[in-house]
Symmetry: C3
Subunit: 343 residues, 3 copies
């Protein structure tokens, strides 16, 4: 019997099944520096231990998206090795900051299954949780992917589609223990705009652009131990191109959004997300944001802001979908998240 | 009002103005490893904690040029976002080693202003200081850049050009506390040549070459949180090329200079520097040095050596300027610095 | 006299000579993260401090091959700067794990010399040892290289060819102190196959492929302070290509072998190795393994497995040599090593 992992096919998933993903990972000073080398990340809470301490945390946490990538990367061999498409994200929450020396692992519960009408593929919904070495859940999110069937004649499971919240209720957002923005240093953070300065409906063009490189997206994707073949092997696709991991675009767009959203410090909720079009080396990525909502929190000086973050191939900002309701060809990413901002 | 940073224009600077630059940065083991991955750096004091301890320091400091890049990077959004050209450096001194866990920030004082005769641009002189979390100045330097005016009709300020020292007096160099080269291990450092073996006027061809890659200069430039668009966005220049951050060339040339100057361990003074020609991916960088001066210091076994470090596109070593007094087209960098060497 | 290192030529080596290689190196969290970014490394013992502790070690060691690269890199200026070819490795043993904060240096003893019949080159055999800051030998191996003569008229030394073991006797393998696989977590390690599940003669196609990039092999090779010109300077070879450091291919193939050999956790012996063909950017590397032998060890729950690891340009797996006994053109690496696996 082959000793290599063939991945799971649609009929290998059952409702309620819990999959413990392999290869725990200890993160630290190296991952932190690499994150800053790979993305133009400048949010002060993650750049400066002193700024984090002045905000009530013991030190700078690992970037929230880096924590997401590590947790996500572990799921790939079990969830998306035979995936045809990554369809969406939802109900994501960051529950505990991750610090240098923490060891992350992750597990996923199958919460939905629906065979497609073509009989060849199906949609699998999993709720993934990342845990640290103290068995504390550091983050959780739902993801749904389209997966091939091994045997097209295998019977379809009873269709169960989970009822997912379109938006996380701000009352359910978890604010890191001790977080306090009452002494926030706007000069050191880089911008003077506080929570009250943003209006729902406001849009921000983040102006800067970054051209994608093969070596960079591969370094990043490997760092998170994401092993999907299409990201690394130029012979895998007929066109000889390597598909860039969607998370690379998320991190790039988020880092670009510093310019205009320098004070949207911590990501605490992921309401939804779609990779609208594939990204390849050579493209120049730009980003824009829209303020979707705002909410108060119980933490001192801390407000929540709901943002749409859109990454594009450099097209006109603020254009998202065509008249047909489909994403425009220039759009790479449409992400809906909650961040914490000084009030 | 736009929330993104449009950068400052010439008329936004006033003499004596002090600008606190944003986004403090904690450095550590990750930055150290990346510096060794990005540049062929081999100076033993920065490679080995044991070697640093045997030299009287508590551990290896962050490479002096990495400290410079971090301090410099913070100034970019405030000083050079609308710069037409980076004209020069001077009066640079390293005042305290930077160790893992230190958090750096920087501020600049406007010490000179001179509108150009075309009325469209002007030269801004700033003295920049980098501070650690204990508010100790770890380095300082003067930089002058040519900056666009927002409004060509804005009145010209009174012209003030600072009187900068051409060379830092060796008596003003700051030797790190405790530095002692009396027990220096030349075998482990890699070369036997000591301070007394170098003659003023001597030139050294550093022989090795490194071909520039887009992914590498972008990783480096992001690591220092330098956000200038031209380094990252291939669509920004009409020729579709990304201009390489001048500091990348400085670090590359300094690392190449190990071969012949392995014992020029610490950089303590920057007398001057010019980026003679722009650098782009695909070029192969070589370097040569000239001994400009030598001086004794008060530290045990420690001499100072003044060096000209020239980076080229691979042209003949030891050629710098043409008959017209201009840099030859093959010259990328002309740097004048003081280093510390065992006597 | 030139101050740069011209490298040693064949007549510069004498039997019994011991060369202390320069530039000690402290390793840590940065090297660990970079190793994971550069290679698709997933062996749990090196990924998770918790997994390492559960296996009886104080924390994750530096990857065994990273330790090898650091020790090897230091020998390049003294051993292979004028080498025509890297002919082989043998009698390699890992003797002590390397942990964050350790400082490595290396020395080589000349154990064999044989001038080639053409009179222009000769083969030098060295036994290299890597030591930590406590003067403990962390690894040793023999390497032989073909080196140019400076003066073809220099007399040939008496030919001495060391009698090297073809395979390290399993009784001579050194198991890290405290290593205990009796509580091994196969789920977290990623595969269920234990030592008893592998048969001598069994072959495994590791399936995945990685396309080589210039920026990546240069980052890796610099990280280990390997300074051989051919890896960095595109103008050095007539064809304008940079030859990729053989160790880059070793690490890549070993990381790919996770898929099928996830439990071959630690490398403790290097029986032999050959770089069958040169590797260049743009190639897609695949790997396959063959189980050559198995042995018990004295450590609880720990078995030894001898593996052939072959890296290819993507050719058919399990094909190695042609009818003429020469490596097939698609083969990049043929490595023979001992690893430790849970029983």
């Amino acid at each position: 019997m082959a000793k290599t992992n063939p991945g799971r096919f649609f009929e290998d998933y059952t409702l309620g099944q819990v999959i413990e993903h392999a290869v725990p990972r200890t993160v630290g000073a190296g991952e932190r520096a690499l994150y800053h080398a790979l993305y133009p990340a400048r949010h002060a809470l993650y750049s400066s231990d002193e700024f984090a301490r002045a905000s009530g945390l013991p030190q700078s946490p690992l970037d929230d998206l880096a924590a997401f990538h590590v947790v996500f990367g572990k799921t790939v061999p079990d969830v998306s090795l035979n995936a045809v498409a990554n369809l969406g994200y939802g109900e994501g929450r960051w529950l505990k900051p991750v610090y240098a020396g923490d060891t992350l692992r992750s597990s996923s519960e199958v919460i939905g299954l629906k065979q497609n009408s073509n009989g060849k593929t199906g949609v699998v919904y999993v709720r993934t949780r990342g845990m640290n070495q103290r068995d504390e859940v550091v983050m959780e999110y739902v993801r749904w992917v389209m997966v091939r069937k091994r045997d097209v004649d295998a019977p379809a499971p009873e269709a169960v589609v989970p009822d997912l919240a379109k938006v996380i209720d701000p009352a359910d957002l978890v604010i890191p223990e001790g977080l306090d923005f009452t002494g926030y240093d706007f000069d050191q953070a880089g911008e003077t705009h506080r929570w009250g300065d943003y209006d729902v409906g406001e849009t921000i063009d983040h102006v800067d652009g970054v051209t994608l490189e093969e070596a960079e997206h591969m370094l990043a994707t490997r760092l998170w131990q994401n092993t999907a073949k299409v990201h690394f092997d130029a012979t895998f696709r007929p066109d000889g191109q390597r598909l860039i991991y969607g998370g690379h675009i998320i991190s790039l767009a988020r880092a670009l959004s510093f310019n205009g959203l320098a004070n949207a410090q911590m990501i605490v909720g992921l309401n939804g997300g779609a990779h609208a079009n594939p990204a390849f080396s050579g493209l120049t990525v730009k980003a824009w944001s829209e303020v979707l909502d705002k909410a108060e929190t119980s933490a001192p000086g801390v407000g929540a802001i709901r943002l749409r973050l859109v990454a594009t191939k450099g097209g006109a900002p603020f254009e998202l979908k065509g008249e047909d309701g489909k994403y425009l060809p220039d759009v790479l990413l449409d992400l809906d998240y909650w961040a914490l901002m000084p009030m």
